[in-house]
């Protein structure tokens, strides 16, 4: 069985739990701090980084603002090059299309390149139901699949696992899925990679259907691009007879030339490399080289709803590099699973509530899963102002407002559980707008300062459980000013 994200608790509860997990904290800290310094060095090599970043954001914005022009153009060019284009409005449609395509080949197993959208749609579970076995071939996805686990990072889905845990998963579970792990497997990363190579090679040579996502789709040429490291992508994209690529509509870029921007931005932001080991680009099908049949499934699944939000739509620029996860102090402590979707970290906190809508307490809690420290915005290669979108989505949660759900505009009401806070904020707003009242409150607090408790009851405990309360001074600044500068109180 593949595990799913269904029924996950709201972020604060899940995060409170994972924050207590010392192994997880250590694994995440080690991994994210390793990559942070490397990314900074790789980016510093390019003196025009900020200009590339601006261009990367602008090209995506142009595409998004004219997606109704670029999608049909893409379809036309993919079709002309020998591919077949399918349109899927939601996850179920996408899974049904893919399942039917695999069935039509008569095959019962497929090899898969790591793809975020098929995680999003839950494709593996859908295939399993139809009696089709999907083999994940990315090393980290393999670790997750064998361990009956969930991904916790965009680039490195098994980032929450250290090398010893990975060794144990391989040793205990590989035999259930095919070739067993070699005898006496150590926890050296090179040996673990070798074990994966041996385990998967048989499947690459045998499987006749490959399933992928894509990093970019070029509208003017119909070209798809997959960026990877291990070579499992090349295996899945070139050895099978049938290739099915499931891609979110926002992955479109207008022109061939636009790739010159993203192929510089993505590897340095993602793995901190000047260039990733392998990049595959293909346009439809090629005679006697690679798959004979190529299907492109264009996926909406909440993307057009996100597009309808003028502030939130910038999340669709995302090129899934995961730089924002690697610098996020909240992600580092909470771990990826707390975000309850394949998209964890800062980008997940703005993407998941938009793709799914503010559908449950989990989605409502995600915009608040940030201290707004801004580290994510600073490293984002396409300049998504994640703090701005977080604050915007917080507003939708606490105040309600216009949203688009399933293509229909509607107005949502404020979330119920924020009623108390709303009242408090209204009171605070009123007091701040009436300085005389504010002053009376300050004086009352000063007069009672000796009897203030060290720890607060109720919601205040969230602060005082771990932090001392600030001492209230004898005199506010306002009163001091009036007293010493001779103004009337």
């Amino acid at each position: 069985m593949s595990r799913t994200y269904l029924g996950m608790p709201a972020f604060p509860r899940a995060a409170a739990e994972s924050t207590r997990d010392g192994t997880l904290r250590a694994n995440l800290r080690h991994a994210t701090h390793t990559i942070r310094a490397k990314r900074a060095a790789a980016v510093a090599e390019l003196e025009d980084w900020e200009r590339l970043r601006a261009a990367g954001a602008a090209v995506k914005d142009r595409t998004l603002h004219h997606l109704d022009h670029y999608l049909p153009l893409l379809e036309e060019n993919v079709t002309r090059a020998g591919g077949t284009v399918h349109w899927a409005a939601d996850a179920d449609e996408a899974n049904r299309i893919v399942t039917d395509l695999v069935r039509a080949t008569g095959e019962r197993e497929v090899v898969k390149v790591k793809s975020m959208v098929t995680q999003e749609t839950g494709l593996n579970a859908a295939l399993e139901e139809a009696g089709i076995r999907a083999y994940e071939t990315d090393l980290a996805e393999l670790i997750v699949q064998l361990g009956d686990d969930l991904p916790s990072h965009i680039l490195v889905p098994a980032i929450h696992r250290g090398r010893r845990e990975i060794r144990d998963v391989f040793r205990d579970r590989m035999a259930d899925w095919g070739r067993p792990a070699p005898e006496g497997l150590t926890d050296r990363p090179a040996d673990l990679a070798e074990a994966a190579r041996l385990h998967l090679r048989e499947k690459f040579l045998r499987c006749k259907v490959g399933i992928s996502g894509a990093n970019f789709m070029v509208a003017e040429t119909g070209t798809l691009v997959v960026v990877e490291s291990e070579g499992n992508g090349r295996m899945c994209l070139t050895l099978p007879e049938t290739l099915i690529s499931v891609v979110g509509i926002e992955k479109t870029v207008p022109t061939w030339r636009d790739l010159e921007i993203y192929l510089q931005l993505l590897p340095r932001s993602s793995t901190a490399e000047r260039m990733n080991p392998y990049t595959s680009m293909w346009t439809g099908t090629t005679d006697e080289d690679g798959p004979r049949d190529f299907h492109l499934v264009l996926l909406d699944n909440g993307r057009t709803d996100t597009l309808a939000d003028e502030v939130g739509r910038q999340a669709l620029r995302c090129i899934r590099c995961s730089a924002c996860l690697n610098v996020c102090p909240v992600y580092e402590r909470a771990g990826g699973h707390a975000y309850g979707s394949p998209y964890p970290g800062p980008i997940g906190a703005i993407l998941t509530p938009q793709l799914r809508g503010l559908a449950s307490p989990l989605e409502e809690s995600l915009p608040f899963a940030s201290s707004l420290c801004g580290a994510c915005y600073e490293v984002c290669p396409v300049a998504i102002d994640i703090p701005e979108v977080l604050v915007h989505l917080r507003e939708r949660v606490v105040e309600g407002g216009p949203v688009t759900v399933g293509g229909n505009r509607t107005v949502i009401r404020p979330a119920k559980r924020h009623a108390l806070e709303r009242a408090a904020m209204r009171a605070a707003g009123w007091a701040f707008d009436h300085p005389a009242a504010l002053r009376r409150a300050q004086r009352l607090a000063a007069r009672t300062r000796r009897v203030h408790p060290r720890r607060l009851p109720g919601p205040g405990r969230a602060w005082s459980d771990t932090r001392e309360l600030p001492e209230v001074p004898e005199e506010s600044f306002r009163d001091w000013w009036a007293r010493t500068r001779g103004e009337r109180p």
């Binding site: 608040f368 201290s371 707004l372 801004g374 105040e399 701040f432 001074p473």
Partner: protein
Amino acid sequence: MRVGLFVTCVNDTLRPSTGRAVVTLLERLGVRVDFPTAQSCCGQPLYNTGYRHGAEPLLLRTAAAFADHEYVVTPSASCAAMVRDAYPRIAARAAAEGRPGEAARLRAAAERLVPRTYELTEFLVDVLGVVDVGARFPHTVTYHPTCHGLRALGLRDRPRRLLEHVEGLELRELEGADECCGFGGTFAVKNAAVSAAMGADKARAITRTGAAAVCAADNSCLLHIGGTLAREDSPVRTLHLAEILACTDGVVP
């Protein structure tokens, strides 16, 4: 030069010593300081929690309170960032919502206020052109740059240059200085576990420096850091940068 002190609601209520220090410091540098009592809160706690509409009257109030000042100086990086980044955005959102009248008023208020608003170290270094403010503070100090100072305002080395010119002060490097302390306004209570974990890591790094005090350009972060340090019985005390810069006799005010 007429300077309006935008002391901020946190400093007014919980840390008046910082406001007094700013007055002492600026007056020593020959600046006439004014405190318009109509000011209150910039609206950041409401805005950042999602109550943008609740922040609108506070935008108008703040702009009106400082309507006549040549410069508006605040000892809070996050409140300065609120004015600079969020005020124009609040006006733009009102326009996008189809409220042209309010949008015009908000935009006019923001446009008048933003270019005159300075965080304290910006005002000292960029406007007054001083880095040696004549302070003496013979203690070891470490500096926490705070997220808004570092990333929203881009204060860069301004605070450090000011500290380096304080007589007798020994500056200790803080490991992971650019990482958030975990305060984040309502984040501190909405996600208390993660906030506390971030605060504990920050507090440990501060204690490891062996400094007698940690300073920053924002008291809201320092309340969180100080509360965490105190709970962990750390000997390090928290000071606003202004309190050090105001000091000439070596004694903490």
